[in-house]
Symmetry: C2
């Protein structure tokens, strides 16, 4: 582990121009981007519901499409110096538009599943405990939730299901329209061109090690700086009440929703930077040859924690919004209050996990961490 | 530390009958009990509101009275073999009656203070952060609660204040009556007799080390057995959702209140055993001469954690009960739900602290831990 922290041979100064057998930055980037563009174009017809679509579940194809969109967008951002700037910026804007559109439906699905699971577990009455055994020392004992038998639970569940289903249906309709829009056709055309040729900038002619590894390092550095600026000491002290009592706000804020949003923002930003760093390592994989595989695995793990953070924050906001529905019963309001607090606790728990895992990433096998 | 774990000289078999200069069990017990009886009788008049009461705050005198009641009751339980059984049992019953009566008003006060503090902190809007600096890395930044500006907060606060004030006033009235009852007069007479002579049993004639230290060890052993039976592995994993999603119940229970009560019961039992062990060490202090002062300090610390556990559990139950008040608004119900979950989290947090502190107690300087 400590050996891996000292500069590895390939990060020592390489020749400025690629020599025979040493790929150029353009070659490595082109291989990655064209592969992602091909994956994009294979998944698109099914997602659009076109007859020429390949067999397979639309959801799975949607996942493939999202993966390609994120990877192309991430690579164009991280390795911006090696690609033609105007083209890259336009493509990134369009990919961001598509990403925003495609992530909304799955986000509503996950939010509903999370809230229903929380309600079910909070209202469970002494069913056999099926949680993983490593979590408890009495895995087979019955367990009960703190809302067991509460009269407001069924109404709260029905309310959340109704509101999220309506919101999801609205998004679904507008997504279907956008998936057939001229804007998406134009984006598909751009991706088709990308399977043939990537518009490169001058630095792409240099050796890939010279150009891409420092840029991947910069992506990891941006992540590290943002993560180190998080209140990790506080998040690392279990049960410090951060996410409920001590939201961070730059200035007095009008209400709790705004304060929660401000409190969550730096964590959501770190989530994006972690994904971007992970995609940068993927691009550099041919150069690294598994040398940063520990870093990649830890970035994946941190990414899951940060996904959980975002999903819990979204679910909490949904519960709080549902509690503002006119004419609900006090019992429904009470149950939604419990669920809101419960999900903010999941936010706290995710921050705590992040605080535990973060030092492991900084001690992983990436050869040259920019901050330490 | 490890040296202290091996049997210390004075716990090696002493002579069965006290020799000159070595106090008998009866002498040590009598000194302790008469001192406590004197403290009891000094505090009683003020608590009863009698003209002969000593100057000083009634609350402080109430605290003195409670301290004496707990210590006499604990000593009579732990060192039962050394005192006359019928007399001890009757006195313990009367002390328990007085203890139950005296603890209710302060319990309501603490519950209200805790709930109001939780509501204030949950609804705070970007006031300067006054929490202790060691808890956070940005102590001077403004902070906001997750209920900041919520329309239900003021009503929930007023409801809790009203309900707890009414309950407290009811208790106060009945306590005043009981404090002037014949039953309390009779108890005061018993305590007056105790300042003169303690009715001892035959074993009290033996050396104190021979009789009292094994009985104190038994009290520590009872605590250790009960604590080791707690789900400490689960409590020790931060944010495991125990106190909200996975209440322990021997059999299916009709509702959440019953399940919460069953889940809390073993922790409340450990709290009583920890207090009893602490009082046993106090009785043995003349024999130990500071030799178990580390154990005593850690018992005090665990006692504070278990007090917090009980207070949070009580406050949570109060919030849940208030949410069942007819004709409250949905917003009030929502806020009470957040507060209920927040206090159950404090219960989880106290269990987590207990799990961290418990091994330190077992490694403390008490010479002979019965379980390990």
């Amino acid at each position: 582990m400590t050996d891996a922290l000292s500069p590895a041979p390939q990060s020592a100064a390489p020749p400025a121009v690629a020599t025979a057998g040493d790929p150029t930055a353009g070659e490595v980037l082109t291989a990655h981007l064209t592969a992602q563009a091909v994956a994009f174009l294979r998944a698109l017809p099914t997602v659009r519901g076109e007859p020429g679509g390949r067999p397979g579940e639309p959801d799975a194809q949607g996942g493939d499409l999202l993966r390609a969109v994120r990877r192309v967008g991430g690579a164009l951002h991280t390795f911006a110096a090696a690609v033609e700037p105007g083209w890259a910026q336009e493509l990134r804007d369009e990919l961001r538009w598509l990403l925003n559109m495609l992530t909304q439906e799955p986000s509503y699905d996950r939010r509903l599943a999370r809230l229903v699971a929380a309600l079910d577990s909070l209202t469970r009455t002494a069913a056999p405990d099926r949680l993983p055994a490593q979590r408890g020392d009495e895995p087979s004992s019955p367990s009960t939730g703190m809302l067991a038998g509460h009269p407001g639970a069924a109404k709260a569940r029905a309310l959340l299901e109704r509101q999220l289903t309506v919101a999801r249906a609205r998004i679904h309709t507008s997504s279907l329209q956008e998936l057939r829009s001229a804007r998406l056709h134009a984006l598909a055309d751009r991706m088709t061109l990308l399977t043939g040729e990537v518009p490169l900038a001058a630095p792409a002619a240099a050796a890939a090690r010279e150009v891409l590894l420092p840029q991947a390092a910069a992506a990891l550095g941006a992540l590290a700086r943002a993560a180190e600026a998080l209140p990790l000491l506080r998040a690392g002290a279990a049960y410090n009440g951060d996410a409920r009592h001590r939201l961070h706000a730059e200035a007095p804020l009008p209400d709790a929703d705004a304060a929660l949003g401000t409190d969550d923002a730096p964590w959501l930003r770190v989530r994006i930077l972690a994904k971007r760093a992970r995609y940068a390592l993927e691009v550099c994989e041919p150069l690294l040859g598994g040398q940063a595989s520990g870093t990649a695995a830890r970035l994946d793990s941190l990414g899951r924690v940060l996904d959980r953070h975002q999903e819990a924050a979204d679910a909490a906001a949904t519960a709080a919004a549902a509690a503002r529905t006119p004419r609900i019963t006090p019992a429904t309001g009470y149950v939604l209050g419990v669920v809101h607090a419960d999900q903010r606790l999941e936010v706290e728990a995710a921050r705590y996990s992040f605080g535990l895992q973060w030092p492991e990433l900084l001690n992983s096998d990436w050869p040259d961490w920019p901050v330490r």
